[in-house]
Symmetry: C2
């Protein structure tokens, strides 16, 4: 069960960040086309979001003695990062739904959606410059360097995942998957938010590997959980169920299925998964049934739990010595939530 | 005739910048997919380029007494800007060729090309942070703010142009076209390079409108010239001839054609131009013939000359008082070249 304190914190935090971001982004232009661009930039940031990444940044900062007003710019920039990269990812993955609504390119076409993503990307860097006023120029640079690394890692991870689908690649090991997830998800979901929060609180350059192992394990548990939710979740999840199968994503569940299934079933799986977006609902259902038949979803759950145990253990080592505080308790709940959420 | 001094400067400058950029961008990764991402990021920056924008920045800086080693980071970042935005523009415009070769998405597909553009975009900001070491943190911020404005303007201009084509919009005036060009082309081609060069040389914050009128006029002359070259140029131009017609672009030539043609011809033009990329070579030829019949290319040339005269006059006012130098002479030649080039 998710702690009430955490849920209250998350919902207040999300509302505060949304307001901050929408105040920052441009609105209303007398040229109708430019006005539409602004609306497109504001669309994903206006949709419901859990705000896990900025919350992680804010809580780590506070747990280490930093002030919330010092972390808000970086937290908002993390949320803007997720929004622009999701606009582009949704095009790259040919997704249908995002945060309870149609993806941006379904509403406005691919060309304008690519461009709106670029405009929002630049706004992320523009926002980060505000850290100069709040934290001084030295810290502002260090924070930008973290963002720079984060975009590098995320685009590398995205390239891995997209190219596997496009090349219809099947000779993938679990380690390939873990590398992809580390780059595509863990870095921007966990590693960077923690590093940013710590840097803002302590105002000292971080060691190269600070929070990296913890963030990778936490992010990997989070992503495997996300893969499983994509196959099993209810409406609250906000994306199409089985969407990863439709999109041909190489999840841990799928990789395990290919490793476990008999040769006839493997043939069926590869045939269906190679059809791109043309798969019928019955074919998606067939893949789901095979995932159940071979216990691949159960297997992925177990692997997620391993990563999750490792992350929780490291949490104790990294944060255990800190004085008790509301932020520390919320942070603990957030970590628990990230590895056990059902929405 | 282009001055020999300028051509020598441009070719030396382009070679120097290319080396600088390729040294800066990541290369070689032991994971083959990530290695491919790096190759994609390095592709456009490796292709032949005139380097007009970074050259403008470097020459303005030098003419105002700045050193070349102070402007190199910003000049290289301008070139990286053009490269990432061209990757995305080529997708948005469904272009075929760029700088003498197939566009990136023809080689690797749209999803990976979008992602490579994002990775290169982030590298632009990463590079700009180097200005902190060279010019101090204050100037570094001001330069980043110029880049931030530049991306804002360019994405607004791109949105205008793409949405006109997508919406098959015809009730466009010349002023609509000039606003679009000001944002899409002039800002990053002329206004920002001049402002950046001046800022680096003088190390003082710029007035809000410095170089804006000059840069807009120069950029507008440059873009109209580019529109005309797209209809008439030889192989050296590097893009497909008539590509703008195929892509349905609302150029000054086309807007004038619609205004000048009789109603039967207007009907033909709108019918052909509404066909998107399905236009036959004969249909493209038909549009070209009508452009000649109604003297629309000649008309656009005349308008380009007006902007060009205005830009040259302002050049005298802005740069005339500066002591004679090789940089000033090259700058003058560069401005002349930008408004009269045939490649």
């Amino acid at each position: 069960m998710t702690s009430v304190g955490l849920l209250d914190f998350l919902s207040a935090n999300v509302a505060m960040l949304r307001k901050y971001i929408l105040d920052y982004l441009p609105k209303d232009h007398n040229v109708p086309e430019i006005d539409l661009l602004y609306k497109m930039m504001r669309d994903y940031p206006s949709r419901p979001s859990k705000g896990l990444r900025p919350s992680l940044c804010i809580l780590v900062c506070e747990a280490f003695g930093g002030k919330n007003e010092e972390s808000i710019v970086s937290a908002a920039a993390l949320e803007i990062f997720q929004n622009w990269i999701l606009i582009h990812d949704d095009i790259e993955d040919q997704s249908e739904f995002r945060r309870g609504g149609p993806v941006l390119q379904k509403l406005h076409g691919i060309p304008l959606a690519i461009n709106a993503g670029d405009a929002l990307h630049a706004k992320m860097w523009g926002l980060l410059m505000r850290n100069g006023e709040i934290l001084g120029e030295k810290i502002c640079y260090l924070l930008m360097q973290e963002f720079s690394r984060m975009v590098d890692e995320t685009t590398e991870g995205q390239h891995l995942e997209v190219s596997w689908t496009e090349d219809n690649k099947w000779d993938l090991t679990e380690d390939d998957y873990f590398l992809m997830v580390q780059k595509k998800t863990s870095w921007y979901t966990c590693v960077s938010p923690c590093r940013l929060g710590y840097l803002i609180a302590t105002k000292k350059p971080l060691a190269k590997n600070s929070f990296v192992r913890f963030g990778i394990d936490l992010g990997t548990a989070f992503q495997i959980r996300d893969d499983i939710l994509n196959l099993t979740a209810g409406k609250k999840y906000g994306k199409e169920i089985g969407g990863d199968i439709v999109e041909g994503k190489r999840t841990l569940v799928l990789i395990n299925l290919i490793e476990s299934a008999n040769s006839k079933d493997v043939e069926t799986i590869k045939k269906i998964m190679s059809e791109g977006k043309r798969k019928s609902p019955a074919e998606v259902q067939k893949i789901l049934e095979l995932m159940q038949k071979y216990d691949s979803i159960e297997y992925a759950k177990k692997r997620a739990e391993e990563f999750s145990r490792s992350a929780v253990k490291q949490f104790g080592q990294i944060f255990g010595h800190l004085p008790d505080s509301k932020a520390k308790r919320n942070l603990h709940s957030l970590v628990e939530f990230m590895v056990s959420r059902d929405w």
